[in-house]
């Protein structure tokens, strides 16, 4: 049995597919690709797939992760994983899965891993690219400066039916205006995920004037912080075909 981690993109129209449906897409993709994976035991056996932090429906991503145990003879241990069959086993897996995945979902990296913390526990922050319309660069800079200058950003939200008070500010690790789009600006934000992931859209409405995102894309997930911070898997470990994202 071999545990592997997969990094994939979710871009274009497929961004409207929910986390749960994405999981079902993966189950079908492994079967279509003919890659045997481990199933759970018991009454209702399912493929043992584990995903990291869920992505909000409607958001794109260049940093989605999935862990799976392969029971396929071709990939069952470290030795077979290092076999040279012309195409590397990692590349075989990438190509087989990409042929089986829908347009917009693309594997960009695959690597064998040891069993460790769940991705959800291991990830401490995400980098987000957020496009906002109908705002000038100056207005955006001012909004960002306002957020960063605050000691706390207190919001009230409902959790399990009860109101809770929360300070969002500690979760905002970095925020800046990083570019222009045809209709507005692009913000880049590093937002903390522990103990709970701060969603970009929550931040946008927490400070006046509330901003509305035209599109949001998760660029990175980080397992450590600082200048030498790391991702669960860096793309590309294996050279992947270009994402087939329609314009």
């Amino acid at each position: 049995m071999m545990r592997i981690r997969i990094r994939f993109h979710k871009k274009g129209k497929v961004r409207f597919v929910s986390h749960r449906d994405v999981a079902r897409i993966w189950e079908r993709a492994f079967r279509r690709a003919g890659i045997a994976v481990a199933y759970s035991q018991g009454f209702s056996p399912r493929q043992k797939l584990s995903f990291g932090l869920a992505l909000s429906t409607g958001h794109e991503s260049e940093a989605e992760f999935l862990e799976v145990e392969l029971v396929d003879d071709r990939y069952r241990d470290q030795k077979t994983w290092e076999a040279d069959r012309g195409l590397s086993p990692a590349m075989e897996v990438v190509e087989a899965l990409n042929a089986a995945l829908p347009i917009g979902m693309d594997v960009v990296a695959v690597a064998p891993i040891e069993k460790g913390d769940s991705l959800q526990q291991a990830v401490v922050a995400c980098t987000w690219s957020i496009d906002v319309d109908d705002i000038s660069r100056e207005e955006a800079e001012a909004w960002v400066a306002d957020v960063l200058s605050r000691a706390e950003i207190v919001v009230e939200r409902e959790r399990k039916g009860k109101p809770v008070i929360e300070d969002l500010r500690p979760h905002v690790h970095a925020l800046g205006v990083t570019g222009a789009t045809e209709t507005g600006v692009r913000l880049t934000a590093d937002l903390g995920t522990q103990p709970r992931a701060l969603r970009p859209t929550e931040l946008l409405v927490a400070v006046d004037p509330p901003l509305v995102a035209r599109s949001v894309c998760r660029m990175n997930q980080w397992t450590s912080q600082g200048t030498d911070r790391e991702e669960p898997l860096t793309a590309p470990v294996a050279p992947a075909p270009l994402a087939k994202v329609p314009a």
Partner: protein, 630 residues
């Protein structure tokens, strides 16, 4: 998925299912035609579904048209809009889709440039309630006729088009195509007199039937939705048609004769389909899959071929007997949660009336088999409001359910039996087409006595759950099922009053329908609840499913006398007309009836031939019925 190739020589079809994507996507008929059309060089097909009310609102607000899901092409840029009609309550959604497409809802108001509007599917056998809104209705199997319609339209386009009525006339020459505007409807004293050609065209439009399913191994590339839909699995049709002869069942009457797919082709379609789609579940579909010749072998081989991981097979239409459960056990190694059976009626007499000849022993043996092999829940489907039904028959439903729970207690602490009761709607081209449907009040009363009985003895009925279909919706299904052309105005009125998605309980409104009926001077009493006489004109007399009217009438008389009729697959022909009229035959791999159950075959009952007299009364009334026999 390949991108549809629209080119000037291609007739562009938009195939529409007038309900949500989640409900419509799995429809096999639509997927079959989608594929067949896209394989033709002279056609291109895309799909669309009814937008939910929130999306419809956005489309109207933003001035956006209804569009295809494939390439987001505006509906009115297609040559043909073809609706699949699987249920009556979607009719107002057809008008909604046309309106969102920017196409006049009434055929008479369409210009020569507007797309052609077609309907097909089982409800198209009585298209009169939609006659004023469609250019044509297509009867029967669509595999061949869509090609013939394409050729008519391709030639029409190549000639540069012309006047719409000329196109109508050309379409009417295609067998199976009914063009309502070429027929005149006459009424006398507020009652239909007849539907006759008003210009030169056939008096009776005959349905289309493909002689051999082996020629049509579709869908070859079943669509795999990215979001979850109903019946989210691979579906492989193993046969079409059914000759069990259940008298309430329109599908069994209009799809005759039985045409089995060769077992080898079934296996290929299953294996290829699983590999292509990545599904881990395949349903072998038909009107009664346990009747498929060699079903055991097909199932065993499917389960054995686990090239695609762990595959489960489902049989959506289980026959009521232990044999069938045995097959189910074979294939459902895991996930044994619930099994569903459809005894349809609560007494043997009633089941003779409807010709669903399930003995109680069969049911209890099936249930015994299910519980003993690990299933925990049993669901039983029943109809109420059947011809000659007494309250004793109705209450028999609960008695059967109670005994099923008793059977289950031998294996489980808390067995559960869910009873699902639907109000009976008489359908065209069935022996019950003459029957006056139970009124809404009567159906409500029958549901009421079932609820009261459960409350009277909560302990005795422990484990029995009762569910029922809304009798108000049943009344309107009845109106649309056998309605004549006058009902079109009612459909339009309801749609104009905002009545869409009427098959969804949160949107259904009986008040909209009764108000519309009143405005049109029509009543449910006249249109739905009244028994019809032998010589009364039906709104579908000018259409034909091959069945002789006198065969149906005789079967209706037999029903009233509680005389059963055996399955003609394995017995001499009754000359219903479906085979002889079209020069086709049953296509079955095995000339012997399936082992096990008695349901409708008669052959394995003790003395064969007529249903044995001793079975016409329930033996040991009130005594527990021995379990495990039959």
């Amino acid at each position: 998925m390949t991108v549809p190739d629209h080119h000037p020589g291609a007739v562009a079809w938009l195939l529409l299912y007038p309900d949500t994507y989640e409900v419509g996507l799995p429809n096999q008929g639509l997927q079959i035609l989608y594929e067949i059309l896209n394989e033709r060089p002279d056609a291109v097909a895309e799909r669309s579904y009814a937008p939910w009310t929130d999306l419809a609102e956005v489309l109207r607000r933003e001035g956006l048209p209804l569009f295809s899901v494939d390439t987001h092409r505006a509906a009115r840029d297609f040559d043909v809009l073809a609706f699949n009609l699987s249920a009556e309550l979607v009719y107002t959604n057809v008008l909604e889709c046309l309106d969102l497409a920017g196409i006049p809802i009434r055929t008479a108001h369409r210009t020569d440039d507007d797309p052609l509007v077609l309907v097909g599917g089982h409800c198209a056998y009585n298209p009169e309630p939609l006659a004023d809104f469609v250019d044509a209705a297509v009867l029967g199997d669509g595999e061949e006729v869509v090609g013939e319609i394409t050729e008519v339209l391709a030639a029409w386009k190549a000639e540069g088009g012309g006047v719409r009525v000329d196109l109508h006339r050309r379409l009417a020459t295609v067998a199976g195509v009914y063009v309502p505007s070429l027929y005149e409807v006459t009424f006398a004293d507020g009652r239909l007199q007849g539907v006759r050609p008003s210009s030169e065209t056939v008096e009776v439009v005959e349905k289309r039937t493909v002689a051999d399913l082996a020629d049509w191994p579709y869908p070859k590339q079943q669509l795999v939705p990215l979001t979850e839909v109903v019946h989210d699995r691979l579906n492989v049709e193993v046969f079409r048609g059914c000759t069990r002869g259940c008298r309430f069942c329109q599908a069994g009457m209009i799809t005759r004769p039985v045409r089995e797919r060769p077992a080898a082709q079934v296996r290929t379609m299953v294996a290829d389909g699983l590999r292509r789609t990545g599904y881990d579940e395949v349903a072998l579909t038909s009107l009664s899959t346990a009747d498929f010749s060699g079903i055991e072998q097909v199932v065993a081989e499917t389960v054995a071929d686990d090239a695609c991981g762990q595959v489960s097979v489902s049989l959506p239409s289980l026959r009521v007997d232990a044999f069938t459960v045995g097959i189910a056990a074979e294939i459902q190694k895991a996930r044994r949660t619930g099994l569903t059976f459809a005894p349809e009626a609560g007494s043997w007499r009633m089941r003779q009336v409807i010709n669903k000849l399930i003995r109680e022993e069969d049911l209890y043996a099936a249930v015994e088999s299910a519980y003993s092999q690990g299933w925990r829940r049993v669901k039983l489907y029943f109809l109420t409001g059947l011809p000659t039904e007494t309250d004793q028959d109705t209450l028999g439903i609960l008695e059967m359910a109670r005994r099923c729970v008793e059977v289950g207690r031998q294996h489980l602490r808390n067995p559960s039996v869910t009873v699902s009761v639907g109000g009976f709607v008489p359908k065209p081209f069935t022996p019950f087409q003459w029957f006056g449907q139970n009124t809404e009040a009567e159906l409500r009363r029958k549901v009421g006595i079932l609820r009261d009985e459960l409350k009277r003895d909560t302990k005795g009925y422990r484990g029995v759950q009762l569910k029922w279909h809304d009798p108000r919706a049943t009344a309107i299904e009845g109106l649309l099922s056998r309605g004549d052309r006058r009902v079109g105005a009612v459909v339009e009125d309801v749609w104009r009053s905002g009545g869409v998605f009427q098959e969804w309980s949160e949107h259904f409104s009986l008040e909209l329908w009764t108000a519309a009926l009143e405005r049109q001077g029509l009543t449910l009493e006249e249109m739905v609840y009244r028994h019809r006489t032998e010589d009364e004109a039906f709104a579908w007399d000018h259409l034909s499913a091959g069945l002789h009217r006198d065969f149906l009438w005789e079967d209706w008389r037999d029903a009233l006398e509680a005389v059963g009729l055996e399955d003609c697959r394995w017995t001499p022909c009754y000359d219903c007309g479906a085979c002889t009229g079209y020069g086709i035959e049953h296509v079955v791999a095995s000339a012997t009836p399936p082992a096990g159950g008695s349901q409708g075959t008669g052959q394995d009952l003790a003395n064969g031939g007529e249903v044995p007299v001793l079975l016409t009364e329930r033996p040991n009334q009130g005594q527990p019925v021995p379990v495990g026999g039959g």
